[in-house]
């Protein structure tokens, strides 16, 4: 991978070559089962901590696609079979994210990398042949590139070890409402091994299992066994068994039981599953407040760092540091045609400084302080990590640099708290920034929502 001018130099290329320990989490928590599709030689599937199974190339780098999506004044991203991410260094804004005009010279334009420097295409050799859903598409520069379901595949310069998914995520309503988040790259992965009646909803707490028809969360009951549902008549008034076809072939983690005469019910990981009749919003978690009942995740998100807490407020629950201060995530996607991100320490910081403290790093550090990590703090997951940051430049620093802060980070990006928050559960700085924090701004780390707001 061509070494980049200063900007991405810090990537420990050596670590990658060594193919250090698989990012497989210690298999205490079950991981998502997926359909083993035929893949081109060298491709593999890696279980990412948050996103579950994702495709990766031979070196373990996660693969992403950039599907076409609408921004306010037009469409960006790639159509099927037509990769557009190329070596051009964009210099001006596209003006597609209203109300600002196009043609504004982008910040730090001289050092702005090209699209493929951030998103190295997964090239295919001239003689590569299509395999399963993987096809070969032609790039404008004449080279061939692998595509999955027609969308060209890229890896991310930000990913270091196999299992890293730092380039893009499935968590935010990615690819959904580009009008607010901009057109994001999303990790490509094999379809989950779940019956067509079900769907997976990626939320911060993990890969939540819901019904496919209307996004209703499914639940399991402590009192049930693998072969018997103990939900009696009164219980059945609030919990509806998810009906299964008469003669379905049990496979993988799925089976069916006759929970009552003539009624076939799905079981997942040896537990009969239900929907909660009183749930008021799609992919709700209100049912898990009823003692004995739990939401079902094909794969739970890794736990927050030790000692961190979760607090309730007027909309739902948010993650907080040990002192109860709500934790915020900063996200940024610029307004150029190639929609490069601007929320990683190696990327321009001017966007963040504008909305966190009117371009004044000191005010930023006062209004949005980093979450300081103890010197010996250690994260046993990849998605949470500690890093050293120069608070003035916002860039990564060496551990013993003068003034460097040892801070907590999520997906290799520092997390923040908010000076305006006074008590646990406060969300004063939620949705703060351009397009209510979804385009260039801060969102609280929402763990649960009971009213069905837009959490990005």
């Amino acid at each position: 991978m061509k070494h980049l001018r200063g900007l991405i130099g810090l990537v420990a290329v050596a670590a990658l070559m060594g193919g250090v320990a698989q990012a497989q989490r210690i298999a205490k928590e079950p991981v998502e089962d997926y359909i083993h599709e035929p893949m081109p030689p060298g491709f593999q599937v890696i279980i990412a901590e948050l996103e579950g199974p994702v495709f990766a190339d031979a070196k373990g780098k996660t693969l992403y696609t950039w599907p076409l999506n609408a921004v306010r004044n037009g469409d960006l991203g790639e159509r099927k079979n037509t990769p557009t991410c190329d070596d051009t260094h964009q210099r001006v804004s596209s003006g597609l994210q209203s109300p600002y005009p196009p043609g504004l010279e982008l910040p730090d334009v001289e050092n702005r990398p090209s699209c493929i420097q951030y998103w190295p295409p997964v090239y295919a050799s001239a003689d590569s042949k299509a395999v399963g859903n993987f096809t070969v598409v032609d790039r404008k520069d004449g080279r061939k590139q692998w595509a999955y379901e027609g969308y060209a595949l890229y890896s991310s310069a930000l990913d270091e070890l196999p299992g890293d998914v730092r380039g893009g995520t499935k968590w935010w309503r990615t690819g959904g409402d580009g009008r607010e988040t901009g057109v994001l790259r999303i990790p490509a992965g094999p379809p989950p091994a779940i019956p067509p009646q079900f769907a997976i909803n990626q939320i911060s707490a993990g890969r939540l299992l819901t019904t496919a028809a209307n996004d209703r969360s499914v639940y399991v009951f402590d009192k049930d066994t693998a072969t018997k549902s103990n939900c009696d008549a009164a219980c059945l008034r609030e919990w509806a068994p998810v009906l299964a076809p008469e003669g379905v072939k049990p496979q993988g983690e799925w089976a069916i039981i006759e929970s009552s005469p003539g009624i076939k019910q799905w079981t997942f990981r040896k537990k009969p599953i239900y929907t909660h009749i009183l749930d008021s919003i799609p992919h709700s978690r209100q049912g898990s407040d009823v003692p004995g009942w739990h939401n079902v995740f094909t794969q739970k998100a890794p736990p927050a760092p030790k000692g961190w807490t979760v607090h309730g407020n007027r909309e739902g629950d948010v993650l907080a540091d040990p002192e109860g201060r709500t934790v915020y995530i900063y996200r940024c996607n610029d307004d150029a045609v190639d929609q490069l991100a601007c929320d990683h320490p190696t990327q321009p910081q001017v966007y963040r400084l504008a909305v966190c403290g009117k371009n004044d790093p000191a005010l930023c550090n006062k209004m949005f302080p980093y979450v300081i990590a103890a010197n010996d703090a250690k994260s046993d997951t990849r998605i949470w990590s500690v890093m050293d940051i120069n608070p003035t430049t916002g860039k990564k620093a060496a551990p013993n640099d003068p003034g460097a802060l040892h801070v907590w980070a999520y997906r290799d990006r520092p997390v923040y708290t908010c000076a305006r928050d006074k008590k646990p559960g406060d969300i004063e700085c939620d949705s703060w920034g351009e397009l209510f924090g979804l385009r260039n701004g801060f969102k609280a780390f929402w763990v649960r929502d009971d009213f069905g707001g837009y959490h990005g």
């Binding site: 001006v92 010279e105 998100a301 979760v310 407020n313 209510f436 979804l438 837009y454």
Partner: protein, 360 residues
């Protein structure tokens, strides 16, 4: 439990109504209690037919127009234009704005209530001649299209999200009421509700729906204050309150000092004005959380200029340095009569001990 206990209690009294039939206002009282749910809300902006009286220089320019005025021919660097404007929106100063001109609503007529009991020089006179109206917020928003009736964009979207997003459900319940015509001692209790609004065959919001009270996540929005009813008009004693107001993006709330309401009660509901001293910082802080600069340009709303006007026109609750922190404001509101249900035992999720596992 075969029957929901509160249902029986509330219903036993209802039967009395059923037997008596006619929906005369007093008949809606059930053990001296009646509930209402908010169905319409907008800033009370008095408007002349052609808008010239209060906005002789026309309406304000929005972000798109101000961008041209501020930066055209000056610079076309992203960081010095778009990011600079956004930075100014999120951290507005109070100094002069040379290249842009903010239009405040002129004239002496405005809707609203007399909040300070006095008739001061800056006060307005109501269209019906009432003196001493305090509504400086009218000057701030009166010439900004977003807030002007009948279909200013922000006005429309604030109301439509109030109607369709249950986070914003807002109730008040009158208790120990002897008569809805005259009663000089009633108790007004405000709650956040949990249920949607009821609509009729034509799609209008109507009375008679049920609203459960949110004693859990909505605990912070519960307030109680005395009220009086005279000739069918309810007036409440001033009280500092907060109420939820979100367009489903951020989840902010408004904070109002000396909030009070003057509402004409009818069998179907209540309508009139509510007013108070709106906390300037909180109202302004909510704007970028609610709707983006893109949406502000729907109704040509120049946020930085608007902040300066609010600070200038703030007329209440001075801070230590003597600078007023709140601005007299009035809203036109309409409520529908609703059957309010209090859950058996107040759940206490908000007070729940901290959990550690995100995915409990």
């Amino acid at each position: 439990m075969k029957h929901n206990s509160i249902l029986i209690a509330a219903a036993a009294a209802a039967a009395a109504v059923l037997v008596s039939g006619a929906a005369h206002a007093d008949d809606l009282l059930k053990d001296r209690t009646i509930g209402y749910v908010l169905i319409n809300k907008a800033f009370a902006t008095w408007q002349s037919a052609d808008g010239k009286t209060e906005c002789p220089q026309g309406f304000n320019h929005g972000p798109r127009e101000q961008f041209k005025e501020l930066f055209e021919g000056v610079t076309n660097k992203y960081a010095e234009t778009q990011l600079q404007y956004e930075a100014e929106i999120h951290f507005p100063g109070t100094g002069p704005e040379p290249r842009v001109f903010f239009r405040e609503a002129q004239g002496k007529t405005a809707l609203g209530l007399n909040l300070d009991g006095k008739v001061g020089p800056n006060d307005f006179t109501g269209p019906d001649g009432e003196k001493g109206i305090d509504n400086q917020m009218y000057r701030v928003v009166g010439c900004t299209e977003n807030y002007r009736g009948p279909d200013g964009s922000a006005r429309h979207f604030i109301e439509s999200y109030m109607q369709k997003f249950n986070y914003n459900r807002w109730l008040f319940e009158l208790t120990n009421v002897d008569s809805l015509a005259d009663d000089d001692d009633v108790t007004v209790t405000i709650y956040r509700g949990l249920d949607g609004l009821t609509t009729d065959a034509a799609g209008n919001f109507t009375s008679g729906g049920t609203q459960r009270v949110d004693l859990n996540r909505g605990k912070e929005f519960i307030y109680s204050m005395p009220g009086k009813i005279k000739d069918g008009v309810l007036t409440t004693a001033p009280a500092d309150i907060t109420f939820p107001e979100s367009q489903q993006r951020g989840f902010p709330y408004q904070s109002v000092h000396a909030w009070q309401a003057r509402l004409k009660l009818s069998p179907e509901g209540a309508s009139g004005l509510m007013a108070g001293y709106l906390d300037v910082e909180r109202w302004y802080h909510n704007l970028p959380q609610q709707w983006s600069t893109h949406h502000r340009s729907y109704g040509a709303e120049p946020l930085p200029s608007q902040y300066r006007a609010m600070v200038r026109l703030a007329d209440g609750y001075p801070d230590a340095s003597g600078k007023n922190t709140a601005i007299s404001t009035a809203w036109e509101v309409r409520f529908a009569q609703a059957l309010i249900m209090h859950p058996d035992a107040p759940q206490t999720i908000a007070g729940k001990p901290a959990k550690t596992d995100i995915a409990r």
